[in-house]
Amino acid sequence: MNDYQYDNGTVKGFIVSSIFWGVVGIIVGLWISIQMWSPAWNIPPYFTFGRLRVVHTNGLALGLGVGAIFGICYYITMRLTKRPLLFPRLARFHLYLFNAAITLAALSLFAGMNQSLEYAELEWPLDIGVVVLWVIFAVNIFGTIIKRKEEQMYISLWFILATVVTVAVLYIVNNLAVPASLFKSYSIFAGVNSANVQWWYGHNAVGFIFTTPILAMFYYFLPKSTGLPIYSHRLSIVAFWSLVFAYLWTGAHHLVYTPLPDWIQTLGIAFTIFLIAPSWGSVVNGFYTVGADWSQMRNNYLTKFFILGITFYGLQTIQGPTQGLRIVSQLIHYTDWVPGHVHMGTMGWVTMTVAASIYYIIPKIYNTEIHSVKVANAHFYLVLTGQLIFSITMWFTGIQQGALWKATNPDGTLKYTFMEGLIKNYPFWQMRTVGGLIFTVGMLFFIYNIYMTVRKGKALAASSI
């Protein structure tokens, strides 16, 4: 028996908050997916596509993503350091401040306060709020790790530490701006240079929000829920250092064929190809770990989530570098292929891994079992189906768009007007909404399952007193 108590309340708070913001973000996502094929669903001024899309991306990246990262990283860090958080009351304040900041962020985006930097849309007062949130997180994580009771730092802690320092550097630099009023600022970077800074940030926000902390969860919860040790410690070391080294070189693959100097584009593309290796280092490690006992795929519902999650991570990290190549980029860049790519990562890899981590944590905290494995399995197959419909329809329509834009008549004139290309997307965009709906139903199964597990846990605790 430990002579201390983990601060489960804060972890629970972050998990519940992240699920709440996840629901908001997913509903807005469904809404904008309908706006794509039915402009009547735009309700100005607050609910037009241009404003709602950033509520969707920020709601899910900051609300669901970062909320889950805060809570689950606290959970992992406490276990791996064998001690409670160094500053538990600060962590509780962190939770309240997080929800206040996300609420204000959502309202400010509805109101159109937008820096026009993708995934860094929030205006400067909220940027300061985000930095404060991150500093609190960093202080607690670093403090707890420094004062740890377990000498060796496990892989997950490396990924968490890398996340903490890198996101701080990225976020502060990209948001540097001159305020014009409380609600408006102008970036200190201009033109080509601002594009280069933004995509250095933008791609690494993917790397250090949707990759490294999720890998921290993967490396912690996969062995925990399967009882199988990570296949290769050495591989995880190589994969970790090469991943965090290479990621920062790759942002310019978002700017292929733009006026950005060619050498930066080419360097970005080259490192993007290299990035396949460390990404697949973790994929291979995951597969070989479960390879010790594949029957877990049938018998342990959590294994399915983790293995499919890491599979989508593997596919994502092949597809991404392929898109960076000039010859592929010229066809699919600016088309719906790209949202198809992003959503395989977010709906496939990130959400599956986060949901599985929560499935592991909640029964553990409440000293009980999951409410229903059947419901969890239904959740699994629904989100898998929804995500596949989403991604695959977007790949089709993306290739079609790119091809129609490039098509020429025998005399060299363009074969299709922009409108002729656009209307061919409509059936695919409608299919995407269907995929999104199926995914949403899956997430509702998840929420129901978590809610019922918490209820069961509370009832058990009450009866045992």
Partner: protein, 313 residues
Amino acid sequence: MTGGIYKKPVLFAIVATVVILIGTMVTMFIPMLTSQMHPRLEDLKPFTAIQLAGRDIYQREGCNNCHTQTVRPLKTEVMRYGEYSKAGEFAYDRPFLWGSKRTGPDLARVGGKYPDAWHYRHFENPQAFFAESNMPAYGWLKGKKLSPSDMESHMKAIGFTYSVEEISALSEKDELDALVSYVQIIGASVKKKPAPAAVIEEKEHVTNPFAGDLKAIESGEKLYAANCAFCHGPNAKGDIGPDLTDDEFLYVKGDVSDDDYFEIINNGTAPGMVEEGRTAKGGMPSFKDSLDRNERWSLVAYIRAIQVKGAQK
């Protein structure tokens, strides 16, 4: 691969920071210190107060979520949109608004492509122009007054020079005026290639291969509805652009030959451009790259057919 680093969190964090800063330095920070990242075209001017107000609205409404502002140096892209984007045309863009998705068309060369009236009407009801467009309407910006004092502080913050008159004139303008002003200046620092019609010597007249061809007239009618009706009106009686059924051509009475129509469809018009001794006001885009030769001649055949019909009445 052993080592105490996995037992020393502070050292670990320092090493990790150094590792992430290497790529950051090479691809982002060091280039920033060189002139290659800060080019500026000679003709590029800072935004005026109303243009900046329009750009602020463009950002507020998230236009960059659906429209890019960078033309790639690819053949079909240059044909569709115009000259490919130059590094030096964005020096006053803080931040850049290149976007990453083309749900709608690229806008890097939209400035001056259409007359203001086209934009007002299109913003108010995009579906009136393109029935199947998915663009939201922005007519609600009309009547929302600009704030001169806000814009003065914005101009100060971004460091552009402005005149007192320019700021006070904003009180007469609304948000839609500002947005149109901004859209019309996008890409203005890059010279449009001079319309060939203005420089090519008059060639011998070429006759329309489809003159009077009923099939061509029929397809011309469809092409007219899809490409021309927004500006010249559903019955070609004129609207934003001039009447095509009367006996005027470029605001001067007297008919011209078929290939003059063909030339205008090919090249569009630029202000001051001269065709058959008549001066254009400008504002019509070129259709050379979006319609093939037969389609362009079919349009001429259709226009001729409705002119005859008009004359018979």
